[in-house]
C-alpha cells in the first residue's frame, strides 16, 4: 500500500438506529481519512457516536449510507459472510471490558483468532501466541484462566489477542476505561510501542491526557466530526 493512500476512508457516512421512538441518527455525515501508521485518538462526550464510528470501521455494524473503505475493502459491499474473515485478518479489536473467553487460558485466547483465520499449524500458532504474550509481558501467565488475572493483565492479553493475526489496523474502544491510572499507563505505553512499529491505531478514550499523546485527535460531537 503506497503511503499516499489512506488505510481508512469514510465518506458521508451516516448511521441510523431504529428505536421504538423512531430512527435515531447516531452518525450524521462523517468524512474521515486515516493514513497507514497513524495513531488516532477519538474523543467526545458520552453518546456522541464514538463507538458507533468504530463499529462502522470494523464492520461490526454497517453504516446506513456513505462509503466505508478500510484496508482496501469496501465494507458497504462486502457480504456478511466474508466480513468476519476480513476482520480476522485485517483488524485487531480491543474492548473496554477485555472480553476474554472465560473457559480458555490466556494462551488459548491469543491463539483463537489464528484458529479462526486458519493461520499456520497448531504448533506455529502456539509459538506465535507465546511470543505475543512475551511482548505484552505476560509469558509467565500463559496457562492461567482470565478470572485468575488482574484487569490490566487481562487487557494486555486482549491486546496480544488483537495482534494475533498481525493486522495492519488496531481498534480499541476505551481500552483503559476500566483500569486504574498506573495500569492504564502501562497499557497505553503498549499502544505507543505498536504505533512506533507501524501499526495503525484508532482508539476511543475519555482520558484527555492520553488523547493528547496520540498522533492525532478526532473530536466527535452529535454524530459529526468537529475537529
Amino acid at each position: 500500500m503506497s503511503s499516499g493512500e489512506p488505510l481508512i476512508e469514510l465518506r458521508a457516512v451516516t448511521k441510523a438506529y431504529t428505536t421504538a421512538a423512531g430512527d435515531y441518527l447516531a452518525l450524521r455525515g462523517i468524512d474521515l481519512r486515516i493514513a497507514p501508521g497513524e495513531f488516532v485518538a477519538i474523543v467526545g462526550k458520552s453518546g456522541s457516536g464514538k463507538s458507533t464510528l468504530l463499529n462502522v470501521i470494523t464492520g461490526i455494524d454497517r453504516a446506513s449510507s456513505g462509503e466505508v473503505l478500510v484496508a482496501g475493502a469496501d465494507l458497504m459491499r462486502l457480504p456478511e459472510a466474508h466480513l468476519a474473515a476480513w476482520r480476522g485478518r485485517t483488524v485487531g479489536i480491543v474492548f473496554q471490558f477485555f472480553q476474554l473467553l472465560p473457559t480458555l487460558t490466556a494462551l488459548e485466547n491469543v491463539m483463537l483468532p489464528m484458529d479462526f483465520a486458519g493461520f499456520g499449524t497448531l504448533r506455529e500458532r502456539q509459538a506465535r501466541a507465546l511470543a505475543l504474550l512475551e511482548r505484552v509481558g505476560l509469558a509467565d501467565q500463559a496457562a492461567k484462566l482470565p478470572l485468575a488475572l488482574s484487569g490490566g493483565q487481562q487487557q494486555r492479553v486482549a491486546i496480544a489477542r488483537a495482534l494475533a493475526n498481525n493486522p495492519p489496523l488496531l481498534v480499541a474502544d476505551e481500552p483503559t476505561g476500566n483500569l486504574d491510572s498506573q495500569t492504564a499507563e502501562d497499557v497505553f505505553q503498549l499502544f505507543i510501542e505498536l504505533a512506533q512499529q507501524g501499526t495503525t491505531i484508532v482508539m476511543v478514550t475519555h482520558d484527555a491526557e492520553l488523547a493528547r499523546r496520540a498522533g492525532r485527535v478526532v473530536l466527535v460531537s452529535d454524530g459529526h466530526i468537529v475537529a
Binding site: 461490526i60 474473515a85 479489536i93 480458555l104 483463537l112 494475533a164 493475526n165
Partner: protein, 795 residues
C-alpha cells in the same frame, strides 16, 4: 493437542456438569429406546424367518383318508416334489393338573426325525418312547404341568389313558400359543394304537422342488399331487397351501413393529427437545462470547460449527451410555418377544444396521436440531451479540392478564413462578411436548386396555350361554339333553352341530378351513354384533353368516353372493347374508353360521347334536367350574363321550391374558417416553435456574429465604407439569382413538370400542406432579446455593 475453539467446546460442557449430564441422559434415553425397539424388531424379523426356513416348512398339506408310507414315497418321486411325508394328526383332550385342555395329537416317527416341519428335542427323553407324552414347549409353558407329571389323554370316543410327560419338543410349525387355546402334543405310533387311535397317516405334507416362494408353482404341483392321491382311490378332504415360507405370526408382526417404531421415534424426538433447549440456553448465555468471537474473525460457519460440535458431544456422551445399556435391554426385550413367538434367538442379539443407525441418530438428531437455535442466535448483527442482548421476550398478554386476575388469590412468589414459566415460550413448548407425549402414551395405553375389555364385554354380551359342551361325536339329542337338563342350576340348553367346512373358490380350489356351526336361526344364545348385512332369516333358510375375518381370507366374497361350501367332501350352496364381529385374531379360522334345520336337510344329522350350549343360574367362574364338573360327571355316568367343556369364564381368562401381554409391552414404551419427558422437565428447570442466577441473587440480596427460593422453582415446575397434564389429556384423545382402531382391525378384525380411561387422567396427574417434584429437587437446590456476590458477578 486440540485447537482452542474445540477446547472451549469441551470446557464449556464441563463447566456446567448438571446441565451436561441431564441433556446427555435425555438423549441417551431417546437413543436407547430407539435402539432397543429397532434392534428387537430387526432381530425378531430376521430370526423368525431364519428359524422358520430351518424347519423345512411344508409347501402344502393335503388331508385324506388313511394311507401308508408307500404313498408318501410315491409322491416324493413325482416331478416338482422335493420331499413328501405322511403324518397322523388326531384331536384329543388332555388333563394336566386337574385341568382339561383341548389338544392336537401328532404321531412322531420312531426316531423322532421329521423331514418336513423339523422338530427339535428340548428337554427330557429323546428319541420318543412309547406310552409317554411329548409336549410342544410353548404349549407346556401355558399349562401348570412339567416333565414327569402324569397326565390323562383321551381320544374322541376312546378310553382315557394315563401317561407321563416324557419330554418337550420345539415345533415351530404350530400356531402361536398366545393365540390358540389348543395344546400340541406328540406320541409314537405305538402309543396312538394304545390310546385307541387310528393306524397310518391322514395328512400328506410336501415341499416343492425349485422356487419355494412361487405360489403358482406350489399350486400347480399341489394339483398334481391331489390327482395322484385321488388316482390311488382316496378322497382329497382338504388342501392347505399356506403363504410360502411365511411363519403365521409374520402377518401380525407389521402392526406391532410399526407401533414400536412410532414409539421409538417419538422417544427420540422428545429427547431431542431437551437438547434443543440446552443448546439454545448455552447460546443465549454466551451471546456476548459469540459477539467477541465474531469480532476476532469467526464467521457464522465457524461459530455454528462450534455449537454443532457441542451438540455432537452431547450425542457422543449419550451413545456411550445408550449403546451398552441398549444391548442389555434388547437382550431382555427381544428374548421376551422371541419367547412369545416360540423362537430361539442367538446370543447376543445384535444388528449392525441398527447400531449404525443408532450412532447416526444419536449424533445427527442433536446436531441437526441444534441448527435451529444456532440459526436464530447467529442471525443477529455482531453489534447486538456484543452488547449481550439476551433479554427474553416479556410474557404474553394472556399470562399477564391471567396473573393479574389470579393475583387476588395467589401469593407473590407463586405469581412470579407463573410468569417465569412463560418467559421462554419456545423452551416451555418443547418441554411441554416432551412431557405431554409421555403422558398421552400412558393414557393411550390405559385407554387401550379399557377399550379391549369393553370390546370383549360387548362381544360377550351377545353370547348368553355359560358353557359349551363339545361331545366326542354326534348323539341323538334326546339322549344327551335330559341328563344335562336335569342338573340343578342348568336353566336352558341349545343343541348345535359343528363341522369343518371349506369355501370353494370360483376357480374350484378350496379356501381356508372354516369353523362351521349349525344352530337354530332363532337362537336365544347367540346375538353377535352385525358388521354388515343381517343375521340368518329363520328356520330352514339356506343362508350363511361369516365372521369378519373372512374378508382377508376370501376377499372376493360379498354379502348377497352364493357361496359353495365343501363339508365332509359334500358341496352345498348357501347365500351369504351377513358378516358378524367376532373377537378373534385374523389368523384364526373364520367362523360360519348356518341354520340347523337347513344344515341337516342338506348334510344329514336330523335330531343329532355334537355340541350343547348351556345356560346356568350363576355366571361367575366358580359356578361355571361347578357346572362343568357336574356336567362331565353326568355325561360319564350316562356313557356319553365328552370332548371338552368350555366356560365363558375360561374364554374370558384366555383373552385377558392376551390383553395383559399386549398392554404390558405398551406400558414399557410409555415408561420410556415418560422418562424422557421427566428428564426434559428437570433439564429445563435447571436451565431456567442457571439463567436466572443473577435474579435469584438479587432476590436473596433483598432477603428472600431458602424456602421462598425453593418454592419459586417448585411452583414453576408444577406449573409446567399442570400444563403438560392438560396437553397430554388432549393429545391422548385422538391418539388412543387411532390406536383402538388400528389395533382392533389388525389383531381382532374389528375396531375396538374406544373407551376413554378416566382413571388414567388422574393417574397421569399424579405422575406428572411427582415428576415435577422430583425434577425440581436438583434445580431448587442449585438455586438456594446461589451466593449473592457470585450471582451479581455472574455472566
Amino acid at each position: 493437542m486440540l485447537p482452542p475453539r474445540w477446547r472451549k467446546v469441551l470446557r464449556d460442557a464441563r463447566a456446567t456438569p448438571t446441565r451436561t449430564v441431564l441433556v446427555t441422559l435425555s438423549i441417551a434415553v431417546g437413543v436407547f429406546a430407539f435402539g432397543v425397539i429397532l434392534t428387537t424388531r430387526a432381530v425378531i424379523e430376521r430370526e423368525l424367518q431364519r428359524s422358520f426356513y430351518a424347519i423345512e416348512p411344508a409347501s402344502a398339506t393335503i388331508t385324506t383318508t388313511a394311507f401308508p408310507d408307500e404313498l408318501a414315497e410315491a409322491v416324493e418321486r413325482l416331478p416338482g416334489v422335493a420331499i413328501a411325508e405322511g403324518r397322523r394328526v388326531v384331536p384329543a383332550r388332555i388333563q394336566v393338573e386337574d385341568q382339561w385342555h383341548d389338544a392336537v395329537l401328532t404321531v412322531l416317527p420312531d426316531d423322532g426325525i421329521r423331514r418336513i416341519g423339523i422338530v427339535h428335542p428340548q428337554a427330557g427323553v429323546w428319541p420318543p418312547v412309547d406310552r409317554a407324552l411329548f409336549v410342544e414347549r410353548a404349549s407346556l409353558a401355558r399349562t401348570s404341568g412339567a416333565i414327569g407329571d402324569q397326565v390323562i389323554v383321551e381320544l374322541p370316543g376312546a378310553d382315557q389313558r394315563i401317561m407321563p410327560i416324557a419330554g418337550t419338543i420345539h415345533d415351530l410349525s404350530t400356531p402361536l400359543a398366545v393365540i390358540t387355546a389348543q395344546k400340541f402334543v406328540y406320541v409314537t405310533a405305538e402309543t396312538l394304537r394304545w390310546l385307541g387311535g387310528p393306524e397310518d397317516y391322514n395328512q400328506l405334507l410336501f415341499v416343492v422342488d425349485g422356487d419355494r416362494r412361487d405360489l403358482d408353482h406350489i399350486r400347480a404341483v399341489t394339483r398334481e399331487v391331489e390327482r395322484f392321491i385321488e388316482r390311488s382311490g382316496r378322497p382329497v378332504l382338504h388342501t392347505n397351501v399356506p403363504p410360502p415360507l411365511q411363519h403365521p405370526a409374520e402377518a401380525l408382526l407389521p402392526v406391532i413393529t410399526v407401533l414400536m417404531t412410532i414409539v421409538g421415534l417419538l422417544a427420540l424426538v422428545a429427547s431431542s427437545f431437551l437438547s434443543i433447549n440446552t443448546i439454545q440456553a448455552i447460546l443465549s448465555q454466551q451471546t456476548r462470547q459469540l459477539g467477541v468471537m465474531a469480532a476476532i474473525g469467526a464467521g457464522p460457519r465457524a461459530l455454528a460449527g462450534m455449537y454443532m460440535a457441542t451438540a455432537a458431544l452431547f450425542g457422543m456422551l449419550a451413545l456411550m451410555l445408550a449403546v451398552p445399556a441398549g444391548m442389555v435391554a434388547t437382550q431382555a426385550f427381544a428374548g421376551f418377544l422371541g419367547g412369545q413367538l416360540n423362537i430361539d434367538l442367538p446370543w447376543p442379539v445384535f444388528s449392525v444396521e441398527v447400531l449404525v443407525l443408532q450412532i447416526g441418530a444419536g449424533i445427527a438428531v442433536p446436531v441437526l436440531t441444534a441448527l435451529w437455535p444456532i440459526r436464530s442466535a447467529l442471525g443477529r448483527p455482531v453489534r447486538m451479540l456484543l452488547s449481550g442482548e439476551t433479554a427474553p421476550p416479556p410474557p404474553p398478554l394472556m399470562v399477564t392478564l391471567l396473573t393479574r386476575v389470579l393475583g387476588r388469590w395467589l401469593r407473590r412468589p407463586t405469581l412470579l413462578a407463573l410468569r417465569n414459566a412463560f418467559r421462554q415460550r419456545a423452551r416451555l413448548l418443547r418441554t411441554l411436548v416432551a412431557l405431554a407425549l409421555g403422558g398421552s402414551v400412558l393414557m393411550t395405553v390405559m385407554t387401550q386396555r379399557a377399550s379391549l375389555f369393553a370390546t370383549l364385554e360387548d362381544s360377550l354380551v351377545g353370547l348368553n350361554y355359560d358353557l359349551e359342551v363339545q361331545l366326542a361325536h354326534t348323539y341323538r339329542v334326546e339322549r344327551v339333553m335330559p341328563p344335562i337338563a336335569s342338573l340343578p342350576g342348568v336353566t336352558h340348553i341349545e343343541s348345535t352341530l359343528r363341522a369343518s367346512a371349506f369355501p370353494v373358490r370360483p376357480d374350484g380350489v378350496d379356501g381356508e378351513e372354516l369353523a362351521l356351526r349349525a344352530l337354530p336361526a332363532e337362537t336365544d344364545f347367540f346375538h353377535p354384533r352385525i358388521a354388515e348385512g343381517r343375521w340368518l332369516a329363520g328356520s330352514g333358510a339356506r343362508e350363511v353368516v361369516f365372521s369378519t375375518n373372512i374378508r382377508s381370507k376370501e376377499p372376493y366374497l360379498r354379502v348377497g353372493d352364493w357361496v359353495t361350501l365343501s363339508i365332509n367332501g359334500h358341496e352345498s350352496q348357501w347365500r351369504l347374508v351377513g358378516l358378524i364381529e367376532v373377537f378373534t385374531p385374523p389368523t384364526m379360522p373364520a367362523q360360519a353360521y348356518v341354520d340347523l334345520t337347513a344344515f341337516t336337510a342338506e348334510h344329514g344329522g336330523v335330531g343329532r347334536t355334537d355340541t350343547l350350549r348351556v345356560a346356568t343360574i350363576g355366571h361367575d367362574p366358580f359356578s361355571h367350574a361347578m357346572a362343568a364338573a357336574a356336567i362331565e360327571q353326568q355325561l360319564t355316568a350316562f356313557g356319553i363321550d365328552l370332548r371338552l367343556i368350555r366356560t365363558m369364564s375360561d374364554e374370558r381368562r384366555i383373552l385377558e391374558e392376551r390383553f395383559n401381554l399386549a398392554t404390558g409391552a405398551l406400558s414399557i414404551m410409555a415408561l420410556i417416553i415418560g422418562t424422557v419427558g421427566a428428564l426434559g422437565l428437570t433439564g429445563t428447570l435447571s436451565i431456567n435456574v442457571l439463567e436466572r442466577t443473577r435474579e435469584i441473587g438479587i432476590l436473596r440480596a433483598i432477603g428472600a429465604s431458602d424456602d421462598a427460593i425453593r418454592e419459586l422453582v417448585v411452583t414453576e415446575g408444577l406449573t409446567i407439569a399442570l400444563l403438560a397434564w392438560v396437553a397430554g389429556v388432549i393429545l391422548s384423545i385422538p391418539m388412543s382413538y387411532a390406536l383402538a382402531y388400528i389395533f382392533g382391525m389388525a389383531l381382532l378384525n374389528i375396531p375396538l370400542i374406544w373407551t376413554y380411561s378416566f382413571p388414567a387422567i388422574w393417574m397421569w396427574l399424579g405422575v406428572v406432579i411427582l415428576f415435577a417434584l422430583i425434577a425440581s429437587i436438583l434445580p431448587a437446590r442449585a438455586a438456594t446455593r446461589v451466593a449473592v456476590r457470585e450471582a451479581l458477578a455472574y455472566e
